[in-house]
Symmetry: C2
Subunit: 373 residues, 2 copies
């Protein structure tokens, strides 16, 4: 296992925000970073040159989905995910743990591993941490995540404690079999909203001296304030010289708040999924392009945005596409929403480097866009 | 009505094929030309910069669909179709006649006009040739087509004769009210497979001295050989100094055969619609990417093709996208299929200019790709 270089470049003065450069075999990633999600080896509706043009530095792909179809051996034989999906920048694969626990209706869970059924055809599969590592090493992303147990919210403390213990033991087993060079293995902190369990999880994973740490089990239905309250000490307890990745979070305001707590990496289907439902982020807050009020509105989607969708098309045209269920509606709103988050994190990096992240956050919180969390 | 400049550049030696330049307010169009179809003001899944990069010179949009949604007034107030859909090259709108006759379950047809119901909400609309011209002038394409009556196949000769007479009378009425500068009005030849009716239609429309002529009522289910046999004298009878546009035809072989008969323009949903069904044109004939044989085939879609889909992705990846119903599958196959026809017409133009269209056609007919007609 090759440790990724993680070079901290600057610290903000008033918050725990920092900028850093994560070195991967497929180029550097400037953090804080938002990672667009390409579930099945494609960010829905986007060509990879379009993603590069938007400034995406690293994409996420889902091990669970790619394992079921086309199969990790196919991806391996294609030369790995980078070649398969034509993306020469960095890729991170999640372990699929989250999908197993959220999608599967029946699963058998033991300390040894987890048996689950395919959502495609109902076939049974058994994943140990070792088998999961085999799959992720076949996929060949730059960053692999350990197999973990992700409890729902709300959950009994006992269940969450078991998940913390099991996930830590699985992390040990993942590390023991992970050998792929140029791929880094990240651990995943669990513990729900229980402070002591979260810190226990951090401590157990910290012993493994992994090149990075995911923070899982948030954004699963818990109240926003509770999440932030619980996240702060977790972020603070994680090693300062390793990247911290808050999994599944992509609301603009939550992301900026977490950056202030020292989080470096984010992923979420929110920008792409809401785009396909006709919804756009904007400097004036979330907009639903299905609304009749846009039928004769020939102004740009977001006058403050410089993305191709905003500079070349009107709200009336976008509404027409969305109403007509035209693919181009999903495509243009996806371009816009991804640009919105990629641009936001780029501006966050600039203000951290300038030591003014506090005032950047204050300006954001005072804007109508901050309602989006 | 401004006449489009139509400058014939070269004639082939052995066939009736010719190259020409059609001058429009949105730039020149080199013919023979294939026009991608953007039914609702968007070529499904394509951004307009992607279409420009593929070398599309002129797009077709559907008056019937845009009239129903978003409404021609919305397009007019947006500044016309070019501004609305962000396309600064040429656009042609069909009249919607074909859609009325093929989509509507109930319609009332008289010499005055046609009453039809919306496929969206069942509302009744009445189109006279004059009203149709108002709508198309609002849309503001570079080329508008007359309202015509398009009979089905097979049809009684009496019905087809009525359609020929009525379409000719409607052409007169369209011309009388068409005033938009920088928009050319084309007539449409009807007559089904009846030679005398086709020639009567050509003669009546020819009297109107229109800047171009569509050839309608083909590719509606008649046998391929019957169509070609019937098309030859029609193409020959049309004025040599005006563009000839074979409506709704886009099969590679049929297109090349029609070019040999002196046809200049084509449109068809075939490349885009079949792409969304997972089917690709290729130098080896039509390919269905759903086929299991491509699951581990890491070669390019068409090794002889230089399009972005063929140069950057494998058959296995395309099959994965198509099997997973991912938008990118439709997008990449659309890029490929459009490239295939645009490249084919570009090569046809080159060989006509070189006076070698006969041998170009012979080579095509000897290739496995020629099965596609």
């Amino acid at each position: 296992m090759t440790l990724l270089g993680f070079e901290i470049l600057s610290h903000d003065t008033a918050t725990s925000a920092r900028t850093a450069r994560l070195h991967t075999a497929h180029g550097p990633v400037e953090t804080p970073v938002f990672m667009p999600v390409g579930t099945r080896g494609t960010v829905k509706g986007m060509t990879t040159p379009q993603l590069a043009e938007l400034g995406a530095q690293v994409l996420l792909a889902n091990t669970y989905h790619l394992f079921l179809r086309p199969g990790s051996e196919v991806v391996r034989d294609a030369g790995g995910l980078h070649t398969f999906m034509n993306w020469d920048r960095a890729i991170l694969t999640d372990s699929g743990g989250f999908q197993i626990f959220s999608l599967a209706d029946t699963l058998k869970l033991t300390d040894d591993g987890v048996e689950f059924r395919s959502i495609l055809d109902g076939t049974r599969h058994f994943w140990t941490p070792e088998e999961n590592m085999r799959v992720q090493q076949d996929l060949g992303a730059d960053i692999a995540m350990q197999l973990d147990q992700c409890p729902p919210y709300p959950a009994d403390k006992e269940l969450v404690a078991t998940a913390v213990r099991r996930s830590a033991e699985w992390a040990v087993r993942c590390k023991a079999v992970h050998t792929r060079p140029n791929q880094a293995l990240f651990g995943i902190v669990q513990g729900g909203i229980f402070q002591d369990l979260r810190l226990e999880s951090v401590a157990r994973l910290g012993e493994l001296d992994l090149p990075g740490y995911g923070i899982g089990g948030y954004s699963v239905g818990e109240p926003h304030e509770l999440m932030l309250e619980s996240l702060a000490p977790v972020a603070a307890a994680l090693p300062t010289d390793r990247p911290r990745y808050l999994m599944g979070v992509g609301n603009p305001t939550t992301m900026l708040q977490a950056i202030g707590l020292g989080v470096d990496m984010f992923d979420c289907v929110l920008p792409t999924r809401t785009a396909r439902m006709g919804t756009a982020f904007s400097s004036a807050g979330r907009m639903n392009l299905r609304n009749a009020q846009y039928a004769r509105d020939f102004s740009p989607l977001d006058p403050e945005c410089s993305c191709p969708a905003c500079s070349q098309y009107s709200r009336a045209y976008l509404r027409h596409l969305v109403s007509s269920k035209e693919m181009l509606g999903s495509i243009l709103l996806t371009i816009h929403n991804l640009h919105f988050l990629l641009d936001l994190t780029a501006r966050a990096r600039e203000s951290i480097a300038a030591g003014t992240y506090g005032s950047f956050m204050a300006a954001w919180q005072a804007s109508p866009a901050s309602d989006d969390y």
